[in-house]
């Protein structure tokens, strides 16, 4: 809408800028009086701090940031430069802000932080008038938006911690600053609300996050974080590609001030709508201390729960289903909370699941739908009183399709999903913190709507179906000073007042005064630099020696896992010459969608949307490709013949690129450097070729070595060592490369280590026997692993010995499990202990060096069978293992010799532990119904079965006579 010149309000609000207003000293003092501490940074201070050298361009950009031309008219030709940024959307499709905080902002405009871009519209009104208008506006806005207090989020510390980690890892810190130092981040302690890390960059170079807990709900902030442009189309904040769960975690973390009870004495935990869920994956190395894992294990069908991860995700749900799973297989969900039964009666519960599930009410197993199976439904009934009853559902899927449905029926209630309003959990509700109550008054709302139109709020804030207002007044050339108009520290009645510093006013005035003088077009350099500054690309990326994270900020840029890629694995790549490096199509994809090829980098490339992508790509091309325009991709098709040479060069017998680079689904043989299958799609051919010859010149400090130092190939065998032909061949291969044609030497099969005519040894990281394991394979097809750290025989198995592939490929990381079958684990911990009452003793925990054990070595007999030699206190032990062939399979015979300088009594060896140990003849025992152990002892003392609630142990006496003893032990499957 256009302003009606007869409307008295308009003349009050908008006056032509020709007005002269004498600047008076007292006004300056007044202004400085409410000028703000320099702790809160915003777009304007950051631009001034980082883009001071840009001169008038900077002032023009401020015109955009302040949306000056949302109200003023400017020449159409200038529009792209001065197009108003405008504020966030309001109403149903906009931000859902608490009415109280909106009213507060209207009455007390912010003088610092990003909120100061919103001017004070009422500074000239009388106080009561001002309050009435603000109240009406608030009621209007509240009437058209979702109620921010209707949120049902429950506080959850583990979700907040996840949010904290994401905030500090994915890149938020680069623009908004850190709340904790890198060291604190490794601890599971949340920072206080509004905490600020001392090592942050100067505040005026960051965009301070204003306290949000009074303003919005977790769900509103979640929506914003997931897609900032949805409610704020011109926001500089890009999407950090957070999924729904991540966005919620970050929102809950940023709004942790709403869960005050978690930080102070006020504990307001109460029953809140929704049921808690935890999502868990099966994997090695479970964290058994985690309560949920314990819980799940306790209810695991069968006696042998798999190793579980700590919860991968958790949250509050309105229904019980499998929709929270993040993968199909090897996962589990556990739901817990309360069910609110409306009236007494018999209720039936049902689970339909693939694979197993269980449902408990009041701790009682009501539905047992255990086991691996296709979807099947089972049910169970019980009588429940009216009121709240604890309910828990555990569910897992091992392989194949996954499904979980839960339903119930009861008095007057047909079988249906559990009504969502029946489900509760204990949790602290998170709601915007505002003491002042608010009750919507529709009369005030309709007055507010009128004011919203009159005050031309829609110029900046789009509200459903309300047209934006544009003022008709034109900014006059050469007549603008900081002393009058909106730029005045204390403008006339009717003009908006902005909280601007003197230098900001000057910059804006200068820009305005130059705007209409034959406007000098911005150079591409200026436009590009300004654009990078506006989007704050410089917070993460260096270009031409400018920008990039500061040394303290760099500490927050991390790699995912241990990649051993150095800074290249954690600091986003520099952008110097990026227009020559990346293909325009890929560059657009990176900027628009945040496409990324560095999975090891914790910091994410955000997505900035189509418009920025296309503009920035053009700028980069324009600036970087001068003065020597790239040849671009050669028109020439990649030749198949050439690509075969390329494949050889990339492979293990050529240059060995795969020693470091991944190739599609195939990991490299070493570090996970950039995926080779992406190269030809992303990179310009010219750049790629120049990079291969001299990586340092294009990427200083890179760990990529040159294989053509000074242009000379280090491989003179392939293509006669011709540098150009070799590099061309690699390019051709990479253009055609896909996972069906991986480089030579990348796909490695099993490398079975076999004992043929004599025993064979394998000292390495062996799963189940520790980092100092000694594996021994016997030609009789029985195998043993000895743990030289704990000085114990760790496990025995039959069949194939070990797969050597893991430790002979790449860097050989990780623990390799035994290859064969019938694995039998021998007791963990120390092998020997003293006790007068072995039946009741508590076996000690301390082992190895800590308990004064020492490894002394081994002797190999003529068939290379080891006799291990070790020591416990002053007692030397010889431990000699032989394989005894049998009719069906071989067994072990073990000779233990003890020779002690000190006289020890009541000494026992723990030979086995298990769930069951049964006597099986004279001095013979059946362990877990799998293995028979028998003993020949040189003493009258007999082995003892020790029975404790969780397990049984077999203890064998070491009866030293004149310092010597021996035990012969036979182990049969």
């Amino acid at each position: 809408m256009f302003f009606d010149a007869t409307d008295p309000l308009q003349t009050k609000l908008i006056k032509p800028l020709r007005l002269r207003f004498m600047f008076i000293g007292s006004a300056l003092i007044m202004w400085l009086g409410f000028s703000l501490p320099a702790t809160a940074g915003d777009t304007l201070t950051r631009m001034a701090a980082r883009g001071g050298h840009l001169g008038s361009v900077l002032g023009e950009t401020m015109l955009r940031e302040l949306s000056c031309f949302a109200c003023h008219q400017g020449a159409k030709t200038l529009l792209p430069r001065i197009a108003p940024k405008r504020g966030p959307l309001l109403g149903a499709n906009g931000r859902s802000l608490t009415p109280q905080s909106m009213e507060h902002l209207l009455l007390h405009p912010s003088a610092t932080g990003q909120s100061r871009l919103m001017p004070d519209l009422f500074h000239a009104f009388e106080a009561d008038e001002k309050e009435a208008i603000a109240e009406a506006l608030t009621h209007y806005l509240a009437s058209i938006q979702e109620d921010p207090f209707s949120d049902t989020t429950a506080a959850d510390a583990s979700t907040m911690l996840r949010g904290r980690n994401l905030y500090h890892q994915v890149g938020c810190v680069a623009c908004h600053g850190a709340h904790q130092g890198p060291k604190e981040l490794s601890k599971p302690e949340l920072p206080e609300p509004n905490a600020w890390y001392d090592g942050n960059d100067p505040a005026d170079t960051l965009i301070s996050l204003e306290p949000l807990e009074a303003r919005m709900s977790v769900s509103a902030l979640t929506r914003y974080l997931q897609e900032p442009s949805a409610t704020f189309p011109s926001a500089h904040a890009p999407s950090m590609k957070l999924n729904a769960g991540e966005a919620r975690s970050v929102a809950m973390y940023l709004l942790r001030g709403q869960a005050a009870g978690m930080f102070g004495s006020k504990n307001t935990v109460q029953k809140t709508r929704g049921i808690k869920w935890h999502y868990v994956e099966f994997q090695n190395g479970s964290n058994d201390e985690d309560q949920v894992v314990q819980d799940l294990k306790a209810h695991w069908p069968g006696t042998n729960p798999p190793s579980l991860s700590a919860p991968v995700a958790s949250g509050i749900a309105e229904d019980v289903s499998d929709r929270w799973k993040q993968r199909q297989e090897n996962m589990a969900l556990i739901f817990s909370g309360f069910i609110r039964i409306p009236s007494r009666g018999e209720y039936s519960f049902y689970t339909a699941s693939d694979d197993g599930s269980r449902l408990y009410v009041n701790g009682q197993l009501v539905v047992n739908n255990d086991g691996d199976h296709a979807t099947q439904e089972k049910g169970g009934s019980l009588v429940l009183e009216a009121g709240d009853h604890p309910i828990k559902i555990t569910y897992y899927n091992r392989g194949g399709p996954a499904e979980l449905k839960v339903s119930l029926s009861g008095p007057g209630l047909d079988k249906q999903n559990i009504p969502s309003e029946w489900l509760f959990h204990l949790g602290q509700p998170m709601k915007p913190t505002y003491d002042k109550a608010f009750e919507l008054d529709l009369t005030k709302a309709s007055q507010g709507k009128a004011w919203f139109q009159k005050l031309a709020c829609a110029s900046c804030h789009q509200v459903d179906q309300m047209e934006p207002a544009v003022a008709s007044n034109i900014l006059q050339n050469g007549a603008i000073t900081v002393e009058d108009g909106c730029l005045a520290p204390s403008p006339m009645e009717g003009l908006p007042r902005y909280a601007l510093s003197v230098s900001e006013r000057d910059a804006i005035a200068t820009a305005l005064n130059h705007l209409h003088e034959t406007p000098k077009p911005w150079s591409v350099d200026q436009q590009l630099e300004m654009h990078l500054l506006q989007l704050q690309c410089d917070a993460c990326h260096e270009r031409g020696g400018q920008g990039g994270p500061s040394p303290t900020m760099r500490e927050f840029f991390t790699s995912i896992g241990e990649t051993d890629l150095g800074d290249e694995g954690r600091i986003p790549p520099h952008l110097t010459g990026v227009g020559r490096k990346l293909k325009p199509s890929w560059m657009k994809q990176v900027i628009e969608e945040g496409a990324s090829v560095r999975p090891y980098m914790a910091t994410r490339m955000p997505s900035f949307g189509k418009a920025h992508a296309s503009v920035l790509t053009d700028f980069f091309l324009d600036q970087d490709r001068k003065p020597s325009p790239s040849q671009g991709d050669q028109v020439r098709e990649a030749s198949l013949e050439e690509s075969k040479y390329g494949r050889k060069l990339v492979g293990a017998t050529g240059m060995g690129c795969i020693a470091c680079h991944t190739f599609g689904q195939f990991g490299s043989l070493g570090i996970p450097a950039l995926d080779l299958t992406t190269m030809a799609d992303r990179l310009e051919e010219d750049w790629f070729k120049a990079y291969l010859v001299d990586p340092q010149s294009l990427r200083p400090g890179t760990r990529m070595p040159s294989f053509w130092p000074s242009g000379q190939s280090v491989n003179q065998d392939i293509l006669a060592g011709d540098t150009d032909r070799q590099i061309q061949a690699i390019w051709s291969y990479l253009k055609l490369a896909d996972e069906t044609n991986p480089p030579e030497g990348l796909v490695q099969g099993q490398k079975e280590i076999k004992a043929t005519s004599e025993a064979i040894m394998y000292r390495n990281f062996i799963e189940g026997a520790g980092a100092r394991a000694i594996g021994v394979g016997y030609p009789e097809h029985v195998n043993l692993a000895f743990d030289a750290n704990q000085l114990r025989a760790a496990m025995i198995w039959q069949g194939a010995f070990m797969d050597g592939a893991r430790h002979s490929n790449g860097r050989g990381q990780g623990f390799e499990p035994p290859l064969g079958h019938n694995l039998f684990m021998l007791p963990e911990g120390p092998p020997f202990a003293f006790s007068v009452f072995p039946e009741e003793m508590l076996w000690p925990d301390k082992s190895g060096k800590e308990a004064d054990y020492g490894f002394k070595g081994y002797w190999l007999d003529s068939q290379r069978r080891p006799k291990f030699m070790y020591r416990f206190l002053a007692m030397d032990v010889e431990d000699y293992w032989m394989a005894i062939p049998g009719e069906l399979d071989a067994s072990f015979r073990r000779f233990l010799q003890f020779d002690s300088k000190a006289h020890y009594t009541n000494l026992w060896m723990r030979a086995a532990t298990g769930t069951t140990i049964e006597e099986h003849g004279a001095d013979a025992f059946l362990i877990d119904k799998r293995v028979i152990m028998s003993f020949e002892l040189d003493t009258d003392k007999r082995p003892v079965i020790q029975i404790s609630p969780n397990h049984q142990a077999l203890l064998v006496p070491i009866d030293l006579q004149h310092g010597k003893a021996s035990i012969t032990q036979e182990i049969k499957w």
Partner: protein, 496 residues
């Protein structure tokens, strides 16, 4: 111009280029004229990722591998390498990166322990394996490498231990140097190690190791294992709590500083003796050997040879002690090895043996593993023999007399200096660069020495010197390698 004319022109051009280049090449001898490298044929089934080399008498070379095998190699000094024999001596050990010999015993380092072994029954294979020391820990991270030295004059073996992973020390003494004396006692000797690649002694018996670019290491370097010293990486300093042998835990260095500034504050900190500027000299410094061949390997008696795994090269290092601190220069030397050089050893006849692997860490050589022999041909290469610090500059010694005219020109030299950020994050660019001016040049009468008087030597900096214009007096040849990189920890005091 039609296509055939174009082709003709192109071939004329190519011919001219060829003639021009062959004329230059004809005048300037290539490095093969001085050093000849031959490849030992390795039998099928032997994966010889050579981690340790040890001579067992005059004709048998023990070679240990990353896969845990030890072979006795016979015939490695024969002119014809075709008859070489590999005898398995031990197998199944855990990544053996160092061998040493004493009498019948062959000592080897495994990730978890120092072991000695011998063949008691005379069947050519070791049957008795004794743990000499296992006073450090291992968690199962692949970074937990251990390298061992030869015996020092006191009969001790020195062990340098890589951290657990790239950044942390999770178990006893990871990131330390330990000495194992003749009785098997373990003596904690130095802290501050990150990721060693080799260990060896200089002619005085002082011990050095190579450490690789990473946290607290701006670039790879050769470091002096001064007993009681802190080598610069504090990640493993918690283990001071386990020992009284080293005194109190040193003060934590300030990240983002420079090593020479921190060395002023932290008395235990031993500055890197020689930096290997990243990419210019190499990217993964590894095995070390001192040339004690008394001229059997050319004119470099007493200098250290240091391998680079990534570049498949052998560098030359000339050390000196100035004000009690080791420093010196490194020079490019031998290149073009087949795999990633890791282990290095001189044979009794003065041949150099270099073993390599590129598994897990790519190398220019490109072959997965190799064992090669380099012999001096007897021709002296025209090289910068050594570079020594003077109170006001440097003194260069050449292997052959230089043309005094070329040596007196300031334009014959390009000098710049720079250092590295000493920081807790990975590596460092070259920083604080300067271009110190050469203000005077003196050439000795015999033409072997040149003194460069330099305005403003930079303490703590690498002084990168390129002798681009130097020619030999006899044939006006250029230097085979004209670069020298001098790490200036200390400036010698003026002699009164």
């Amino acid at each position: 111009m039609n296509p055939s004319e174009l082709a003709w022109q192109a071939s004329v051009m190519a011919l001219c280029c060829y003639l021009a280049s062959s004329w230059i090449l004809g005048a300037q001898p290539q490095s093969e004229v001085f050093y000849k490298t031959e490849t030992l044929p390795i039998p099928d089934g032997v994966v010889l990722e050579a981690g340790g080399l040890q001579w067992m008498g005059d004709d048998t070379l023990a070679v240990s591998t990353r896969l845990g095998d030890i072979y006795m190699v016979q015939g490695a000094l024969e002119t014809d390498l075709a008859n070489i024999q590999f005898q398995p001596f031990a197998s199944g050990l855990h990544e053996v990166l160092g061998l040493a010999r004493q009498g019948d015993w062959l000592y080897c380092i495994q990730r978890c322990e120092l072991t000695r072994m011998k063949d008691e029954d005379g069947d050519g294979r070791a049957d008795l394996f004794e743990t000499v020391s296992d006073g450090w820990g291992i968690t199962g991270d692949y970074h937990e490498y251990a390298f061992s030295s030869k015996f020092d004059a006191d009969g001790s073996i020195w062990v340098v231990l890589c951290l657990t992973g790239s950044f942390t020390s999770e178990i006893d003494y990871r990131g330390w140097c330990l000495r194992i004396d003749a009785e098997g006692n373990m003596i904690p000797t130095c802290s501050g190690i990150r990721s060693p690649g080799g260990i060896g002694m200089n002619p005085l018996g002082d011990m050095f190791y190579t450490d690789n670019q990473g946290v607290w290491n701006g670039t790879c370097g050769l470091k002096h294992l001064k007993p009681g010293g802190f080598m610069g990486n504090p990640s493993g300093n918690r283990w001071y709590e386990l020992t009284n042998a080293m005194g109190p835990r040193p003060q934590e260095p300030t990240s983002g500083s420079r090593m020479h500034l921190e060395a002023d504050k932290i008395p235990e900190l031993v500055p890197t003796a020689v930096y290997f500027p990243y990419n210019k000299m190499g990217q993964s410094a590894s095995g070390i050997i001192c040339d004690q061949t008394e001229g059997g390997f050319g004119p470099f008696q007493g200098q250290m040879l240091v391998c680079d795994q990534t570049h498949s090269t052998v560098m030359r290092v000339d050390l000196e002690q100035v004000n009690g601190v080791y420093q010196g220069a490194c020079f490019p030397f031998l290149s073009g090895y087949d795999s990633g050089n890791l282990s290095v050893e001189f044979a009794p006849d003065g041949s150099l043996f270099v073993g390599g692997t590129d598994r897990g860490w790519g190398a220019r050589g490109g072959k997965p593993y190799a064992l090669q022999r380099t012999r001096w041909t007897g021709e002296t290469p025209f090289e910068i023999h050594s570079m020594k610090a003077l109170p006001q500059g440097f003194e260069l010694t050449f292997t052959q007399p230089v043309d005094p005219e070329s040596a007196r020109q300031t334009e014959s030299y390009q000098l710049q200096s720079y250092t590295y950020i000493y920081q807790s994050s990975y590596g460092s660019p070259e920083v604080d660069g300067s271009q110190p001016a050469i203000t005077a040049i003196e050439v000795s009468d015999d033409g072997l020495k040149v003194r460069l008087i330099i305005d403003q030597l930079q303490i703590g900096h690498v002084h990168e010197l390129k002798c681009v214009g130097i020619q030999s007096a006899q044939d006006a040849h250029k230097l085979i390698n004209n670069q020298a990189y001098y790490t200036l920890n200390e400036i010698p005091r003026e002699l009164l």
